[in-house]
Structure formats: structure tokens, C-alpha cells
Symmetry: C2
């Protein structure tokens, strides 16, 4: 796999499109999270669905993260292969081939997984038994996202009992994640959604304990809300991912205490490849270079330039009256609309410090779908 | 790179998400295009930006295509490496490293490229000279897309003269492509847009010839309009790509003569991974498995099931009252909203015939961005 740049190159020499990681901003984001959570007693388990790269995960662990979260077995395999030995799959895993792979992985690393179905829990138990392994299993609560998970209360108790009855599973606690709350713009609305989820978590945890089932971990939260979960006291583990990079969509959230402020650390470097009429330029980064599912990328530190439309391999830049127009061949930095699916389009991070390429990190879980 | 399936496996045994190519439908689409164009004197040069796979390109050439189109130098490199020796880059290529690579490639294959700027043409000429190669160069006309290209008429003549003056460039003709017209829903509106472009092409070609510049090729057109370009007489080469696969967005176009009907040949196989309340199911294919830039995927041949929302790794399926609800673990075929960026998420086509995996084709230009 050809590396897209070389250490020592200047940023403006890097061929485009390229995925650029500003190391100073990235490292500052990692410290900001560690500082925010320090002393609260809440563990950090950062999400690898965002970064897809053991080099990132290991740096997060060096600042206190206990391990990684993944959404897919193949992501977990890539993280374990990269040296991360404590992985929670924050998702339901269904289908015999995946269960076998997950159980085998549990022979090499501490592996957790979520369930929302008793038959699925029994299938996990059988796979773990065949592999001679034990899996940590979390009952996922549906707390407002309308996606996976069982209802809080009695349904969760019944499923926890089913897990506890499986000889090769260890009931590890609850997963409670409201993904939709992450992108609600006002902090007050996010707080209300997380407080509602917290009440459901507390009630379910109480019910489990009244029934003799200890609940060592409650895990969840994302970059848009994690301090709300921390302050609620209902979670003792958080799963932020995007905070390390930030994107144009997260930047549209109201940023206010108790959430700390993170910096844009991830960019797509693009070249102006066509200069049509005065008010239009075209860059060589379209929707195969910056995912548009959460909106267009933003042009970084170039007032009056707006990325208004993406086709597959082209981006349309509108130049406001009076703005400095970019020349043909000039390079622009774009802030992706959504970092997770954008990173998944690249094989390498080009890691830059003060304008010079310092290293290249392979995105080994890129395309890890199964 | 682990293969996601094995020849001889039944479709329902393939792990998910997987990119499925129905070979019978795919081969029928290739024949349908060849039949539609036969006898018109118009050449077919199919677009590799869609398929990213020399195995596909070679099958298109076996049915008469003269070569491949690409959007990126790295795509062209992958096609040449895969045995396709006549490639047109239907795009402007800007920046020294790319020009050097393109010129080197022209030592191994016939390579064409588009220009819309005279300085860029001179830089191409210098790179070709250093490589001891000759490039076919097409002047791109802006014919309604508002993207790249020069205006028809005098600006195109001036640029064609600049190209013709370059010793290492061969002026090969005009590129005229209106990408926006491809997805205009009614055939009458598409016809009006292509007729307007045809007039601009004819006028420019006449002007070139009046000025002693022969224009051997006029190339353009896509899957949504190509028979309109063929019938206009203004183009003698067409560049369809999506026709081989079709997607949910192209299926929303009015399909009527003179355009032939193509079949859905490309699918994402997904597994039901959670069964919440009665009217909801969740599949394991989200927006990292099926690009949502042109809308949600469609559920294939399951009346009453609709894919209504995608998150990164999950798809939300709504079950209409009375519809047969899918069971946990059941597999569904999805028709991607947009085939090009969806294919770009995968490393392999799992090629299936009548429910059995026949072969796996590597998507060697996946992620070819530069």
C-alpha cells in the first residue's frame, strides 16, 4: 500500500486529496479529555469506530483510557492485532461466523460485547464454550435512540438473568448510549435527553441489584454529551471517539461547560483543479474524499470561501465578493462534515506538526465491515 | 486482504455486510448497452470511476468498449496494472506529482486527459516531454454542469490551439459531459439539456475545423442520457458507468426509449442484528456500507420493508403493517442509493450466480484518490 506522503515533507507538498492529522491539535484534544475526566472515578474507553487506527488508540490509552470500543468484530480484530488488548464491541453481533471470530479473539484479549436478545446471548455462550474463552457481556438498554437494545426495567432484568445463566459469559453491566443526543444543538436539550437516560439506567441498575445481580459497569456516552453522563453519576465508563478529531457537524453543537472545547485536528487537503468564472473554483476532493452524510466540509481559515456542493470526485467552492480567490493548483484544508465515515475512506493518516509531515499511521480497520 | 466469501458458498452463507454482484444481471446489462449502441458508429468507453475494478473493465471491453475512463491518476494506474491499456482521464489533472505519474503511465498505455487551462496544458506537455511520452489531450467544454471546462466557442478554440502547439501533446478532441442531466427525472428534460449541450458541441467543433484544427473525438455522456448523445450525432464516444450495476437513484429516473432498461445487479447483503418493537428492525449495514449521498438504499424484493435511516454502522428498517417481518439473523439484499461511492467502500465484489458465489473480484482502485 503506497504511502501518500513522506516524513519531512512540507504540508503544501503532500499530494491530494490526503487525510491530514494536526498532531498538536490532536494531542491537545487527548489531554483535554483526560483533564476533564480526571478525579471523577469514570473510566474512559475511547471509540475506535471513529479512528480505525491502533496508533490512535494506543495514544489514548497512554493518557488513561482503559481500552477501545469497536462496532464490528473486524474492527476489534484490527485493534487486537495492533496491540490493544481490552476491547468492548458496543454492538450486537449476530451470525455464526462472527460469533466464532469474536470467541476466538477472546482467547487473545479481553473482549466485551452487547446483547439485546436472549437467543443471541445463548449463541454467544456456545461459541465462547467451543473456543474455551469467556466473554464480558453487557445488556444494551434502549435509552432514546430507537435503535438496538431492550427496554429498561424488567426486560433488561430478564436478559441479564439469561446472560448470568450462561457458563461462558460474564455479565459485565449495562450499555446505555443515546447517539441522537450527541448532535442535538443546544446543551439544555442534550442535558434533558441524558438525564432521562440516566433515570432509566438508575432504575434498571437498582432492579438488577435488588435481584442479586451486580452491575459493575455502566458504559455509554459520546463526544457531544460525555460530561453530562459523568456528572449524572449513572455511568462509570464513557466512549467518546470524535473528540480526538472534531468535525464540521460537531462544531455546530453549542459548546459550553461542563463540556470542554476540542480543536479541529482532522482535515482533508485538497487542490484547486479548475478555476471557472470568478466566483467558482473546483477542488479535487468530492464525496469519495469527505463524507457528506452530515453536510459539506468547511473550508479552513479562508474567509469567504465556502464548499457548497460535492460530486463524487469534485468539490464546488463558492467565492464570496471581495474574498481572496484561490489560484489554480493552490491547496486548501477542509474540515470534514463527519469524521468517522471520512476516515473510513483513507488508508493513512498523514500526521503533520507545524506544517511538516512527522509520521504516517495506517488506518488498519478501514473498511472493517463484518 | 482477507476474501469476504469463497466460491461455492451459497449467498445466504456470505458474511455481512458484503457487496454482491449478480452476474446474470450484470452480464445482461453489458449486453444491453452493446446492443443499444451497435451500428451507430459511436464508441463506448466505460467509466471505471464507478466499478474501480479491471475485471469489470475487461468484460466491458470484451463486448466492444474501446477502453476505460477514469477520474484520477491513481485509478488509471490501477486499470493499466490490471491490463487495460487505453485509458482516458475524464478530468483535469493538476499538480506536479500527478503530472509526472500520468506522463510515466503514458509510456505503458495510451493515456488521454482533459484540460480547461492553457498553463495546465503546458505543464502536461513538459511532464510528457520529460517522460518521453505523448498524451492525448481533450479540451473540456462546460456544457451545463457548472463544474470544470471552458466555455464553448472561442475560449475552447484558444485552448485547443494552445494544446496543438505543445510538442508532446496530441489534440484528441472535446470532452462534453453534463453530469447533472443524468439524474433529471423526466426524459423530456434530460433531452432538452443534452440537445443544448449538442448545439454547443457542434458550434465549437465547426469553429475548430474552420480554424484548421481537426477534432477526431467528442466524448461524454453517462448512464442516464447516453442514447440522447448517440442520437444527437454530436458525440462519437460515450462514457457510461452505472449502467452495469444500477442503483436506487438511477431507478428513480423515468426509463423510456431510446434508453434501454438496465437491471439492478449490485446489492449490499445485510443481516438483521436487532429486532426491537414490532415495526422496527435494525440491519448491520449503515452508511459505511452503503453511501447515503443520493438517498437511502432500497430493500430488495421484500414488500413492506423500507430502509428509512442510516447511522454509521446500522440501518433502520421500517416494517409496514401486515408485511412479513424479518427475523433476527435473517439476511436482506439492499439496492444502494448510489453505486459509485458504495463500491468505493469495499475491497471485493462477491460475484454470485443463481444464489451461489462464483468468484471474487478485487476492487483494486478502491480509495484511489490522488
Amino acid at each position: 500500500m503506497r504511502q501518500p506522503a513522506a516524513p519531512g515533507q512540507r504540508l503544501e507538498e503532500v499530494d491530494t486529496p490526503a487525510l491530514i492529522l494536526d498532531l498538536d491539535a490532536f494531542e491537545a484534544n487527548l489531554r483535554t479529555l483526560a483533564d476533564a475526566v480526571r478525579g471523577t472515578g469514570v473510566r474512559v474507553r475511547t471509540h475506535a469506530k471513529t479512528h480505525k487506527c491502533p496508533e490512535v488508540g494506543k495514544r489514548q490509552m497512554a493518557l488513561g483510557a482503559v481500552g477501545a470500543c469497536c462496532q464490528k468484530v473486524s474492527e476489534a480484530e484490527a485493534m487486537v492485532a495492533g496491540g490493544i488488548t481490552d476491547v468492548l464491541v458496543t454492538n450486537e453481533i449476530v451470525g455464526a461466523p462472527k460469533l466464532e471470530r469474536l470467541a476466538r479473539l477472546a482467547g487473545r484479549a479481553r473482549i466485551g460485547v452487547c446483547v439485546d436478545d436472549a437467543a443471541n446471548a445463548r449463541a454467544l455462550d456456545a461459541a465462547a464454550g467451543r473456543a474455551g474463552a469467556t466473554l464480558d457481556v453487557y445488556v444494551e438498554l434502549e435509552v432514546g435512540m430507537g435503535r438496538c437494545g431492550v427496554a429498561p426495567g424488567e426486560p433488561a432484568l430478564a436478559l441479564a438473568r439469561a446472560v448470568a445463566a450462561c457458563p461462558h459469559l460474564r455479565f459485565a453491566g449495562l450499555q446505555a448510549y443515546n447517539g441522537r443526543a450527541q448532535h442535538v444543538r443546544t446543551l439544555a436539550e442534550r442535558r434533558a435527553l441524558i438525564e432521562r437516560a440516566a433515570e432509566q439506567v438508575r432504575a434498571t441498575r437498582r432492579l438488577l441489584e435488588e435481584n442479586g445481580i451486580a452491575c459493575p459497569t455502566v458504559t455509554g456516552a459520546g463526544s457531544g454529551t460525555f460530561m453530562l453522563e459523568v456528572q449524572s453519576g449513572a455511568w462509570n465508563e464513557i466512549q467518546p471517539g470524535s473528540y480526538a478529531f472534531m468535525d464540521a457537524d460537531y462544531a455546530r453543537n453549542e459548546q459550553a461547560a461542563p463540556l470542554p472545547r476540542f480543536a479541529h485536528a482532522l482535515f482533508v487537503l485538497a487542490t484547486v483543479m479548475s478555476r471557472g468564472g470568478g466566483a467558482r473554483a473546483v477542488v479535487d476532493a468530492g464525496l469519495k474524499a469527505s463524507s457528506v452524510d452530515s453536510g459539506m466540509p468547511a473550508v479552513w481559515q479562508r474567509p469567504g470561501l465556502a464548499y457548497v456542493l460535492a460530486s463524487d470526485e469534485h468539490g464546488f467552492i463558492e467565492i464570496a465578493p471581495g474574498a481572496a480567490a484561490p489560484a489554480l493548483g493552490e491547496k486548501l484544508l477542509l474540515v470534514p462534515g463527519h469524521c468517522d465515515p471520512t476516515i473510513n475512506l483513507y488508508d493513512w493518516y498523514v500526521c503533520v506538526r507545524r506544517g511538516v509531515v512527522e509520521s504516517l499511521w495506517p488506518i488498519t480497520a478501514r473498511g472493517a465491515l463484518t
